[in-house]
């Protein structure tokens, strides 16, 4: 790394999981207190930034954000400004009252994949130690939980990518499944370009011809909800064409025969029928994937393949393809997940997930409980057990079976959760909702107490990007008066709940404790320090602490080269079979809806919709449909469309494009209100990961009256 010029701060973008390096320089204050400059020496993005990153400082301006706590006035029923002591008292009283009345599990905590490792860690500890509740989960459940479960099953370990992005250009062939990274993480496109410049091939699997699919050497366009069948069909062709790496399968895997039998049940013509992908294209895909020298090649999945009620099995089937062809556990080869949120990786490792403790430990494992309890200075028996998954937690809010008070940090489920109108009603049914956010999000609007948090440019902390690289976020300026950091908020709440110790507000102090709590776990951070991160442009976990006199552990850039992280060191094939979506089209709802993202918006849009340049580029929702479908419906471009599912109806303008299948409509989900895509989505859950089925449900489309 190089030292930033005086007055400037080297840090990272607040948005996606690439965590691009950026340099912030203070301004005179207008239009925002800092401006973004390139940070060319940071390896992940080498200076490149997208429009979201470049415009991120807009939300730092005082007029764009909350600068004082809000409480709901008992008389008017409206939110009004309050002092911090009043707001924290009100929040702590609300949480404590619910615990007193209904027991400690009646207090829920909902976190986010954008929180730093320190916050995610402390939020999990806050739930288990200060609130003593099992009811904690986070929006990362909606993000990469299916890939995480499948990776753990196959490899014994879940790190989004087992290799750094810099390996992509050498992969020879990359299959992107349900990723539109040209829109969602544009600086990553450079790796695909370098792959193709080196003669490598890009295959994109997506029901839409997205900006990413347009870059591909081969685009496979399966019906939403059929990626699992497609992966099985490709494995079938690998078997049929004699392309199985028998030596690798024998030496480094188990469970091949069951996987092969499942592939035999998915012969190409049947898969064509299920997916709509012609056999000839499947054959070409197998030819490209298996045509690389040295058995390099990668399959990278993202939400398109994962956000299904069969997301875990779908990822498992893609992993099977890697294992059968020997494209795993060797250089420039393997399966990876393109994690979405900024700290989607670290956020799932340190204890804000319902079933986990720090270091990617299982909350049901007695040894893990004992280790973490010792770090926390509590009796292991006092630690709660596993709680409900995110959607189940939200679904039961305000019911006798669920939480009646909720602390929500860094998430906006009114826009981003499936079956969003129902979730909104559940949030309204709470006795007490406390929201920590930087802006008055649609969820914060429902709160009893809103606590304004500091932003990325105003705080220190660590994030772990999609590569498993732990990076350092640095404060470039102080938060404005009236704003506190999330750690300060947790400290203040813990104090009021009678736990004054153990919730430090200083990030590095929290990180030191996280190191100890993670030591010996799968995601072992104990050898990582802020100083090393700064000096080494990030450190890849696992990175255990070294003993006295021993050299420092270098961190682990590449996993599985010698063995997989299973007890016997072998990767496990998944025994999976295609099954229909939870909701298939029928006479009443004859079309499929799939949801996703646009270039200029991020997640629920709470920040990006408030950024003028982005709001101008992508001002509102739309319904993408094929001209042939539009003609059938008598619709032209720009007409108002009503999209109806079993859960609700939304209205948005039509956008005609031949880039989508004629049996499918697409809506981006960044907006609230009458165009909110998640009003329609189906909360059917994956049986293992508890991932909701965001990517496919049955709808009908009508011309709006």
């Amino acid at each position: 790394m190089t030292t930033p010029p005086s007055g400037a701060t080297d840090t990272h973008c607040p948005y996606c999981s690439l965590q691009c390096g950026m340099r912030l320089r203070p301004t005179s204050g207008e239009p925002a207190p800092v401006e973004v400059e390139e940070r060319p020496d940071f390896p992940v993005n080498r200076g490149a930034l997208c429009g979201k990153g470049r415009s991120a400082p807009a939300i730092l301006a005082a007029h764009a954000r909350l600068t004082a706590p809000l409480v709901r006035d008992a008389h008017t029923g409206q939110l009004r400004e309050a002092s911090w002591p009043e707001a924290l008292d009100r929040a702590a009283d609300g949480l404590a009252a619910a615990a007193r009345r209904y027991g400690s599990d009646a207090v829920g905590v909902f976190g986010g994949g954008g929180l730093t490792n320190e916050k995610a860690y402390l939020l999990g500890k806050f739930a288990r130690v200060a609130l003593r509740t099992a009811a904690i989960d986070y929006n990362g459940r909606f993000c990469m939980s299916s890939a995480a479960a499948a990776q753990r099953a196959a490899f014994g370990l879940d790190r989004g990518l087992p290799f750094p992005l810099e390996d992509i250009p050498r992969a020879g062939c990359v299959v992107l499944v349900g990723s539109n990274l040209a829109d969602t993480m544009p600086p990553a496109v450079r790796y695909l370009r370098e792959l193709q410049e080196a003669g490598g091939k890009l295959i994109v699997v997506d029901p839409r011809r997205t900006r990413t699919a347009a870059l591909a050497d081969l685009h496979l366009q399966p019906a939403p909800g059929t990626d699992l069948a497609l992966a099985l069909g490709l494995l079938h062709l690998v078997v049929a064409e004699g392309l199985v790496d028998e030596e690798f399968v024998a030496a480094r895997t188990t469970g091949y025969e069951a996987a092969r039998a499942a592939a035999m049940a998915h012969w190409p013509e049947r898969v064509e029928h299920l997916t709509g992908v012609p056999v000839a294209l499947m054959r070409r895909a197998v030819g490209l994937f298996c045509g690389t020298p040295d058995r390099t090649g990668m399959v990278l999945t993202a939400r398109g393949g994962e956000q299904h009620s069969k997301g875990v099995d779908t990822v498992g089937a893609w992993i099977n393809l890697c294992l059968a062809t020997g494209r795993a556990g060797r250089p420039a080869a393997g399966y990876g997940c393109l994690t979405g949120q900024g700290n989607g990786q670290g956020g799932r490792e340190h204890g804000q997930k319902a079933d986990q403790l720090p270091g990617y430990r299982s909350i049901t494992d007695p040894a893990a409980r004992a280790h973490v309890a010792a770090v926390w200075g509590v009796d292991p028996d006092e630690l709660p057990g596993p709680g409900r998954s995110a959607y189940e937690l939200l679904d039961t809010l305000g019911t006798p079976d669920g939480a009646s008070a909720l602390l929500l940090m860094g998430s906006n489920p009114v826009v981003s959760a499936p079956h969003a109108q129902h979730v909104t009603e559940r949030l309204r049914a709470l006795d007490c909702l406390v929201v920590c956010d930087v802006v008055l999000s649609e969820t914060a609007e429902l709160a009893d107490v809103v606590l304004p948090s500091a932003q990325w440019a105003e705080e220190d902390g660590t994030m772990t990007n999609l590569e498993g690289r732990v990076i350092l976020r640095r404060a470039a300026l102080a938060p404005p008066p009236g704003v506190r950091t999330d750690l300060e908020i947790l400290h203040g709440l813990a104090e009021r709940l009678g736990v004054p110790e153990g919730f430090p507000a200083e990030p590095q102090e929290v990180f030191e404790e996280l190191r100890a709590a993670s030591a010996g776990g799968q995601a072992d951070y104990s050898g990582i320090t802020y100083e090393r991160i700064a000096a080494e442009d990030g450190v890849f976990w696992p990175c255990p602490a070294s003993g006295p006199g021993e050299p420092e552990h270098p961190g682990t850039r590449r996993l599985f080269l010698d063995r997989f992280a299973t007890p016997d060191g072998r990767a496990r094939f998944a025994d999976v079979s295609h099954r229909p979506a939870a909701e298939e089209p029928d006479a009443d709802y004859p079309l499929r809806l799939t949801t996703g993202r646009v270039l200029a918006q991020y997640q629920s849009g709470a920040q990006t919709r408030r950024t003028p340049a982005l709001a101008e580029a992508a001002p509102g929702p739309f319904v993408e449909l094929h001209p042939r479908l539009a003609a059938r419906l008598g619709v032209t471009d720009g007409d108002g469309l009503t999209v109806v599912s079993r859960r609700g109806r939304v209205t948005a303008p039509a956008r005609l494009t031949a880039a989508i299948r004629a049996d499918t409509v697409f809506m981006p989900f960044h907006w609230p209100g009458e165009g909110r895509a998640n009003t329609l989505t189906n909360p059917a859950l994956d049986p293992v990961s508890r991932m909701p089925e965001f990517k496919v449900c049955a709808v009908r489309v009508e011309k709006a009256s």
Binding site: R260, M264, A265, D575, P627, R628, T657, A659
Partner: protein
């Protein structure tokens, strides 16, 4: 409560799918498959690929959900009233639910000299292609003779002829009807198929009867199949062409169901793997407490045989009155596409050689909605001109 005992007579594709699906619904079932063949369930739809060596026989094994598979065990009698079955070895087994998945047997045409003297066995050199065991004999005889004759220009006959040609044999394909695949294709489309086969070295004879067993090489009979219903008939179950089932896949006795090639639903016997699996899926769900019903499966053809790729949907062979047919035919490149429209609705389609639009065309035949704007774009693969600028994002 005791675990329900489900006996499945047959261990073919429908039986395997049923067992695999039942296991997804519930672990607590005692499922036994009784199969005559010595193999665990395997994918019969891929047998032509076994002829060419594309598939080693043991790779065809299908998942069967961990069910007990009694290979080499023929069921010889059923007693639906007592809910028992009897095997060829005299063993009697009780069940709670019986599923007949007995499949189908090849139809043997009246070719003189087909049978060994005095017997019901095919004479040496005459073959059918229904089981893994059949494959080895055909390949052995064909390779020994360097030639083979296939009777039947349907899906199986074409696939087998193409496979044997791939092995380097001189193959003659003899078909009684005036053109190949007459159930699914019109004469013009069938001509494209014929030329593609001829280019692969197959000598195609249509409108030709087979007068005897050739003496210069083996004979492979691919003249269709008929449901195996003997057991059901003997047990007093209602049987027409197949074992009669209703929309719940129930046969005419309590606790007895039939699926796959042996079943007749609303007068139709499908004889293809995909309807068999749709039936298996529905029956598995019903036996697990759900209540889906089977409403039939659309007729379709999908064949890959070497370079030959064919898909046909709906009324592709006999358009009927009040229809328009759009055709795009390129004999030089072996490509043919046709759409059959009635009142602007797609009621049938055939694709040969270029299946790029197969997904969308299958969907359009299925949804039955008017096709607009200009349906010719389904054939050319281009979006309508008014929208082509929208095709690729900038």
């Amino acid at each position: 409560m005791t675990t329900a005992r489900i006996a499945v007579v047959g261990a073919g594709m429908a039986a395997a799918r049923l067992a695999q699906q039942l296991r997804l619904h519930t672990e607590a079932l005692d499922i036994t498959l009784y199969g005559q063949e010595p193999h665990a369930p395997y994918n019969r739809a891929l047998l032509a690929g076994v002829l060419t060596g594309r598939y080693a026989p043991d790779t065809l094994t299908l998942p069967a959900g961990g069910a007990t598979v009694r290979t080499g065990t023929e069921v010889v009698a059923l007693d639906p009233a007592a809910r028992t079955l009897r095997t060829a070895t005299g063993e009697t087994a009780a069940y709670d639910t019986l599923v007949l998945a007995t499949g189908a047997a090849p139809v043997l045409p009246p070719v003189p000299g087909l049978f060994a003297p005095g017997g019901r066995e095919l004479r040496p050199g005459a073959h059918v292609l229904r089981t893994l065991a059949d494959c080895a004999g055909i390949v052995r005889d064909a390779q020994a003779a360097g030639r083979a004759t296939v009777i039947g220009g349907g899906v199986l006959g074409i696939a087998a002829a193409q496979a044997l040609a791939t092995l380097g044999c001189a193959v003659r394909l003899v078909h009684r009807e005036p053109h190949l695949l007459e159930r699914h294709l019109d004469a013009q489309a069938a001509t494209i198929v014929r030329r593609t086969l001829e280019a692969a070295g197959v000598d195609v004879r249509t409108g030709a009867d087979t007068t005897g067993v050739p003496d210069d090489g083996p004979l492979l009979l691919a003249c269709g199949v008929r449901p195996r219903t003997r057991l059901a008939r003997a047990a007093g179950l209602a049987v027409r062409t197949g074992i009669v089932v209703d929309d719940t896949l129930a046969a005419s006795a309590p606790g007895v169901y039939a699926i796959g090639d042996c079943a007749e639903h609303r007068g139709t016997v499908h004889g293809r793997a995909e309807p068999a699996w749709e039936q298996a899926d529905i029956l598995a769900a019903r036996l697990s407490g759900a209540r889906p019903r089977y409403h039939g499966s659309p007729d379709r053809l999908r064949l890959t045989a070497g370079a030959l790729e064919i898909a046909a949907f709906g009324a592709s062979a006999s358009p009927g009155p009040d229809t328009d047919t759009l055709r795009l035919s390129d004999a030089t490149r072996g490509i043919h596409k046709s759409l059959i429209l009635r009142d602007a609705r797609l009621v049938g389609a055939a694709l040969i050689g270029d299946l790029a639009a197969v997904g969308e065309i299958a969907e359009a035949v299925g949804h039955g909605q008017p096709l607009l704007p200009d349906p010719v774009h389904l054939l050319t693969g281009h979006p309508p001109p008014a929208f082509s600028a929208e095709g690729a994002p900038a």
